[in-house]
Symmetry: D2
Subunit: 333 residues, 4 copies
Amino acid sequence: MAAKFLKLQNWTSLNFCIKSYSLAPKNMSTYAPKGCMAAPFTPFTKDGKDVDYSKFKSYADHLQKLKIPHLFVNGTTGEGLSMTMEERIKTAELWMQQKDKFESILLHIGTGNLKDSIQLASHAESIGVDGIACIAPSFFRANNEESVVSYMKEVADAAPNTPFYLYDFNIMTNVYISVSRFFDLAKDEIKTLRGVKHSSPQLPSLFTGMREHRGYQFMMGTDDQYLAALSLGSEAIVTSAFMAPYFNKIIEAFNSGDLEAARNAQEACQKVVNVRSKYGTGPQSFAVGKSMMPMLDLDLGPVRLPLVSLTSDLAEKLQSELKAVNFFDWVKV
Amino acid sequence: MAAKFLKLQNWTSLNFCIKSYSLAPKNMSTYAPKGCMAAPFTPFTKDGKDVDYSKFKSYADHLQKLKIPHLFVNGTTGEGLSMTMEERIKTAELWMQQKDKFESILLHIGTGNLKDSIQLASHAESIGVDGIACIAPSFFRANNEESVVSYMKEVADAAPNTPFYLYDFNIMTNVYISVSRFFDLAKDEIKTLRGVKHSSPQLPSLFTGMREHRGYQFMMGTDDQYLAALSLGSEAIVTSAFMAPYFNKIIEAFNSGDLEAARNAQEACQKVVNVRSKYGTGPQSFAVGKSMMPMLDLDLGPVRLPLVSLTSDLAEKLQSELKAVNFFDWVKV
Amino acid sequence: MAAKFLKLQNWTSLNFCIKSYSLAPKNMSTYAPKGCMAAPFTPFTKDGKDVDYSKFKSYADHLQKLKIPHLFVNGTTGEGLSMTMEERIKTAELWMQQKDKFESILLHIGTGNLKDSIQLASHAESIGVDGIACIAPSFFRANNEESVVSYMKEVADAAPNTPFYLYDFNIMTNVYISVSRFFDLAKDEIKTLRGVKHSSPQLPSLFTGMREHRGYQFMMGTDDQYLAALSLGSEAIVTSAFMAPYFNKIIEAFNSGDLEAARNAQEACQKVVNVRSKYGTGPQSFAVGKSMMPMLDLDLGPVRLPLVSLTSDLAEKLQSELKAVNFFDWVKV
Amino acid sequence: MAAKFLKLQNWTSLNFCIKSYSLAPKNMSTYAPKGCMAAPFTPFTKDGKDVDYSKFKSYADHLQKLKIPHLFVNGTTGEGLSMTMEERIKTAELWMQQKDKFESILLHIGTGNLKDSIQLASHAESIGVDGIACIAPSFFRANNEESVVSYMKEVADAAPNTPFYLYDFNIMTNVYISVSRFFDLAKDEIKTLRGVKHSSPQLPSLFTGMREHRGYQFMMGTDDQYLAALSLGSEAIVTSAFMAPYFNKIIEAFNSGDLEAARNAQEACQKVVNVRSKYGTGPQSFAVGKSMMPMLDLDLGPVRLPLVSLTSDLAEKLQSELKAVNFFDWVKV
């Protein structure tokens, strides 16, 4: 798949990125996922009480058909923070069993506390993930970059041979830091530092970081700012898996110089975002996303409390609104 | 006026409160802690990596000398959410070994995810705590009272014979709900519902809940609103342990009708709060609190990242500012 | 009226306040309004386009019957910031024509810009108001206490013989300062500084200021924290005019030592606040308040955009909800 | 890619935009400023007390040399809301005297209250400005799109022959609305509606509005999102006047298909933004901007309280930091 994907895209337009990243320090991993990175949901059993371990293979096949090169596992979409340590570990292992269908797997090992994240980081390295990412705790919120660096260093050091990404998502964690200043401080401290999954919506933060810290990866993580981030030079975008066809189209059009076609695809994507937001915003938007899976003939179960799955009435209404914006034509595989 | 005030009320240990709570539904536990409930820190080893299990006895003796009747264990002050499941369980058990020094122990079993909280609730009941309290997750934030009720019901049901308290602390979790509406909805759903630890600072929320839901306990949880909450009828106040002498004085003066003395004590307390806030606000304020323990000859170790313990320089400066507002005279035991 | 009011209330209980304010610097005015200060609405014509100058007399009579000693004119309730300079000036003058019905009139002269406020301050002194209050601009928001002091000094200096109050209302202006630090800095700068109308809801801010800056007046300005502020020693409370009967009852009960009666009255008040909040919160809550005037047989016209008057349907629903919480029994005159 | 990109688009002055706006309703003005619109400061006298009417000619000459086609007068940069009505009117007239140096002048007539804005709108039409823009009040904040539409309709109707723009700047006003929904509702109500000056930083809001409401102008108004907004199709950008050379370069490079050059220019611009932000953020950032004018040999006086001009020490430090990021090379005229 990966080969085909590369051929289809013919990433010439992203060459500048590759070039600009040639300054990477020698001691840094060469892991550098490009293009679309998809955050899968975690399949749960009908009552939400357990991970549904029977669904990983079929879900992975589905993702492969969507031409998704990279996975971001156990993140926000995957409800990683609603899972127990045992579930986090087992889920990571099950995704690794599907690894041959993807170019790479980036594992989120952030939790609400340092010790658990250290343990997950250590486990991640033991199962050979391509990289790890870690979010800052949202309850005991760090109030400056220094403490985030200290925290992340402890986590990263538990996986000394695995590329490390900061997972910055300030509207979820309410931890507001300067990503660029984080890199200023972290560069010398965190030997495995490789980049950031920048799900915080502020593009100037992404751009400043990207330009001041060449050699590191700044991956944008918001569905509705694909095109803008591309124009700024972001080389990978983390998205809900089913949005991949939109992004693949945007990048293809952008690279071929057809800006109006890229805008049209971004507009189509924005329409889906706008429809979804009517059914739930903030954290609840992830519940809305998971409610869309059965519409794609792949029921991955409910979300876990305090998120709430859509009622069947609302799901039906959502489905008809999604149909009206041609969502199902876009994501047909 | 003062004399008349005293005579009319003739308060003995806030008897008026007991009266106003006489309407409690029959199926409700009679657990009703009154007066000061102290939230102990969790002793950590010097490097912060482990709970220092050797310190519980001496710390409990200290708390007993401070005349603290009730403990609120593994809450925010205790850094419960920075501890692993194993540590949470063991710490709960160690505090229960000190139980004979206190009237009651209320155990916080809230975590970042439902399954862990259910497990802690079940364990709590097995070790015989007097009550449990649960906070809502701060990452996947509930966006209405209904989902908080659903979440808390699952937790409470795992300890069917243990009084249950909502732990509402909106400035930490960023979950903003109407506490009163929570009780409207939860009353029939959560059989063991007993009250709320109301650490959110909004007094009108506390007061509305208290008046609309007689029979339930509304315990105020902010150091700097002791007196105001008392005037509104809150019968128990959760505080940093070392602040107990201030509160004991406030309540004594208030009950004897000497309002000016109560205000003076509250002012003394406010001065400590104001000094502390210079060294750290928000979550970091709990780090400042723990840094004060060695000044009381009881070193409980550092806080855990992302909180950061004060440097020795800052701790010294803090100590001298605390001295200037007579803190050490107040808390002498 | 004033004499009768004082006799009826027999303010013995507030004696402590008077005492505690005996340290007032010599160069300070002796203006010290006590008890209830009411913020009247500004009567507008039916289309909202003009001030209805014909209504001031009847409205003043109404306020007098409610036993309101002090007026706070052209503030938030009065929609001062929605009025033109000409209207501000004329309205101030018309209220001054009703002055004999009240003990004192405190005029709000805050606007969105310094020059206008200076002009209004100068006019205020020329018409002999008892005091002036000024709010900080909400668009060009000050970001520290220093700039608020500089701003207020310019305004206060334009009325060198009129007591000056800071009007602090952070949830409306989004200017968040430490009121206590403002006084630290302003004391020497603003010769006429007399106190603060503290409509910001944070009681610890009120209390800290009150205790650190004796000799100045700290007037609480939120309907739902009457009792709590009283317990802390606030000697005057600014409120919607029609809420005066609630406050008069709370203060009477509090002073006579009947705390439970005070709580009951505060609860009755809270019920009105809670009902109102269903029909509009934040700035819009003032529109809801004005919509209640016709229910008291005194139509003061609509609010001005961007506030929106309640539709007649909603007003009817509101009226029936207010009836259910006995509002009309309380405010009968 | 670049070559192909260029050929396919062959942009001359953003022609593609003109095309996409060809659906404009017939009854709409044809005013459609393209490219850079600069928001000039208002020159004040040394003490800040008066507008310095002697400076307009030389400042206009300076702006002309910077190749600025359009002016946005009396907005946030111009401290419009810190000026009296008389000053607003006179300043508007003085800029109109310089009109021959520019393609068009868009006048901001928003104030803190409806009546003043109506008066300014009426005056604006009388002096023949090319368009007017209006911001929503920040004190009495509208809480939905309906009330913003009602407010703006009253203002726009006072200038029935002048194109009308919403001025949306949510981080200044704290009025958060859906711009797209505003247009949904306003289209039929406001006959002169022509577009929005979108200074709120949320690009998805800009983009959604732009795509759902073709025929209207969506002008981006944040210095640090030039390139991203361009990629989305925004055809005009409102900026501090002295930043025009950056934007002219960005747009030139973007149009010629040289994306990396556009990014480099945006990076240079971002560096200035980042330097400025060290000296003041939020409203105070406009004070920092004005402090930069003497460095360009054009002293426009101080800002007005509550904004605070930089001290000469800080201004010197700022100047040397700006020099380090080559600011003065960029803005040389």
